[in-house]
């Protein structure tokens, strides 16, 4: 410990024994009590101090200007979308707020560097644990309390009290059943808004009918249930291509109508919407991780991290010429999960 600090501690009236070691052990980075501090400014004379004061004060005034400007912008600047100069509203607010904070901060730094006293002090830390007599005192209070309450004298009361506390602990156990596979129901993951006979509605709620799409056309379609357009698992892309380029496997040959085929757009990798359809290559492309599916070939994976084909929605045309779903998807849409069965049969649910 340097003498100057010792002297200062003495001046504060603390009892410091010069012989007592302040720190123990080795100091790989040097003794922290050895001050290496160099004062970075000399005592200012009267005139310089006045100048510094003015500089600090003007920075603080700049902060005031920032706040006033912020409030004035907030009140008077046109901020409605489309109004003349509205696009400067946010930048002005930000600029004035920055000015307010910067003025205060810069003023404080300048203040500390020029006018504040530069000195180093040491604050001693006390032990973290309580003193022995405090611990004994606390133990005595607890014992006395237990004796006063009669825990030792009435054993039935004591045991029932302990049992009640234990029972309260058991109360938490049912909450654990809300976690993990106790909760899991395969059906919830495998079911979407599609059902047998559901018309394919476009984004404005109109049913799509045969002939609406030209070859090379697509349509985002949703089930005809309430809130269907916003069901994240039910979004489907209806694609029309030339029937001769569309390869449909035998078990799904009734799932398509005259070159029209419908796939879930939820990527089987991580669930991004796969709606980038290329009408010449028949690729469906996921923008998140570049998984590429072949829409002309059961949406099988051509490239990328997706492991499974996109689920296909079986469609047909009803008596009035509108597209309807034959049922829900035959497999869960979207990414895999632990409990997902590895294989699903091509049966319409």
């Amino acid at each position: 410990m340097s003498d100057s600090i010792r002297d200062r501690l003495k001046a504060t009236g603390e009892d410091v024994d010069p012989a007592a070691p302040v720190s123990h052990g080795e100091h790989p980075v040097g003794d922290p009590t050895e001050s290496t501090h160099h004062s970075y400014h000399a005592e200012l004379d009267e005139q310089s101090a006045k100048r510094a004061e003015l500089a600090v004060a003007s920075l603080f005034m700049l902060a005031v200007v920032g706040t006033v400007g912020f409030i004035a912008t907030f009140v008077f600047w046109p901020n409605e979308f489309g109004k003349h100069l509205y696009e400067f509203y946010t930048p002005l607010l930000g600029g004035f707020m920055a000015l307010a904070l910067l003025g205060l901060g810069a003023g404080a730094i300048l203040w500390a560097k020029t006018l504040m006293k530069d000195e180093e002090t040491v604050q001693e830390r006390h032990l973290l644990s309580s003193a022995d007599e405090d611990k004994q005192g606390a133990a005595a209070i607890i014992k006395e309390g237990a004796a006063d309450a009669g825990l030792g004298r009435y054993p039935i009361l004591r045991r029932s009290f302990l049992l009640a506390n234990g029972a309260l602990g058991v109360l938490a156990v049912p909450f654990l059943f809300g976690l993990g596979r106790f909760q899991f129901k395969e059906a919830a993951m495998a079911k979407t808004g599609w059902h047998k006979g559901s018309r394919l509605l476009d984004e404005l709620g109109r049913p799509v009918k045969l002939g609406d799409l030209e070859v090379g056309g697509v349509k985002s379609v949703f089930p005809d249930v309430a809130g269907g357009r916003h069901m994240a698992d039910s979004a489907v892309l209806l694609i029309r291509m030339r029937p001769d380029v569309l390869h449909v496997r035998e078990s799904r040959k009734d799932w398509v109508v005259d070159g029209h085929i419908a796939y879930s757009v939820i990527c089987t990798h991580l669930g991004c919407p796969v709606k980038l359809y290329e009408q010449q290559t028949h690729h469906l492309f996921c923008p998140c991780h570049q998984s590429t599916f072949d829409a002309a070939n059961g949406a099988k994976v051509l490239f990328g991290p997706a492991a499974r084909s996109l689920p296909q929605l079986a469609i047909q045309v009803d008596d009035e010429g509108y597209f309807v779903a034959q049922g829900d998807f035959n497999e869960p849409v979207g990414p895999s999960y632990w409990e997902r069965k590895p294989h699903y049969k091509d049966e319409v649910k």
Partner: protein
């Protein structure tokens, strides 16, 4: 004499009546000549054929049958011509995964003549008359986000497709080009027929694209590709943190 005069007057009455009838017919009943006069149309087709033979037939064939270089143009419609030629994509500079937007080689009249010629071959989608970008902005935004944004990005700045192809940015596209693209489905873009997106809806989308790519402003100055809060946060973090580090170093150096 009397009979001659009466015979003459009879002729005169008939002639007068015929003239009157004819006049009435021309004035009220005769079909009006259409705005697109067939005579003008055929002139446009002839001119268009000349332009076609000079500029396009090397690849697309003397009879539009297509060839080694280009596809057949029978049935692609006037919209395809407007899209490809008015955006400078055709004539093609070189074979590549995709035709890029270039300097336009034909003026508006020539584009219309070429379009009339191609339309005369086998029909196909045609641009409607009148303004194309006067639709409803909010409806257009809704439809754009459902039908277009997956490839062209919700701010219309385009994006990548498979195997070196890309959905181009819509920032430079005119209303005619945007509308024609939806109708004709150029290259790998799906085709949106009038049953898929009605003309009203196409007008709304065109209006939205024009608005969002050229009229709307970026509060804060730079849009940063309009990718949203992630790049904005990144820039704020890097620039802000960088400045703070510089200031901290400066304060430290002065100490």
């Amino acid at each position: 004499m009397t009979s001659t005069r009466s015979r003459l007057s009879g002729y005169a009455v008939v002639v007068l009546a015929l003239a009157l009838l004819g006049g009435l017919y021309t004035a009220f009943l005769a079909p009006k000549p259409k705005a697109e006069d067939p005579a003008n149309q055929s002139v446009a087709v002839k001119e268009g054929r000349q332009l076609y033979l000079q500029g396009c037939s090397t690849c697309h064939g003397l009879n539009n049958q297509g060839g080694a270089g280009g596809p057949s143009l029978i049935g692609v419609g006037a919209s395809a011509v407007v899209f490809q030629v008015e955006s400078g994509r055709m004539p093609l500079a070189r074979g590549a995964a995709q035709a890029p937007r270039k300097t336009v080689k034909y003026d508006r009249t020539q584009v219309d003549q070429l379009a009339a010629y191609i339309q005369s071959l086998g029909g196909g989608p045609e641009l409607p008359a009148g303004k194309l970008d006067d639709g409803e902005l909010a409806l257009g935004g809704d439809l754009f986000r459902t039908n277009c944004s997956s490839c062209h990005n919700f701010a219309g700045v385009g994006g990548a497709l498979t195997r070196a192809k890309y959905a181009p940015p819509l920032t430079a596209a005119s209303a005619r080009v945007i509308y024609a693209a939806m109708q004709s489905g150029p290259e790998n873009m799906p085709r949106f027929s009038d049953n898929t997106l009605t003309p009203t809806e196409k007008r709304a989308i065109t209006r939205y694209v024009r608005f969002t790519t050229s009229e709307s402003k970026n509060p804060g100055g730079a849009g940063l590709g309009r990718y949203g809060p992630v790049p904005e946060g990144l820039v704020a973090f890097l620039v802000g943190m960088g400045l703070l580090i510089v200031v901290t170093l400066w304060i430290g150096a002065r100490a």
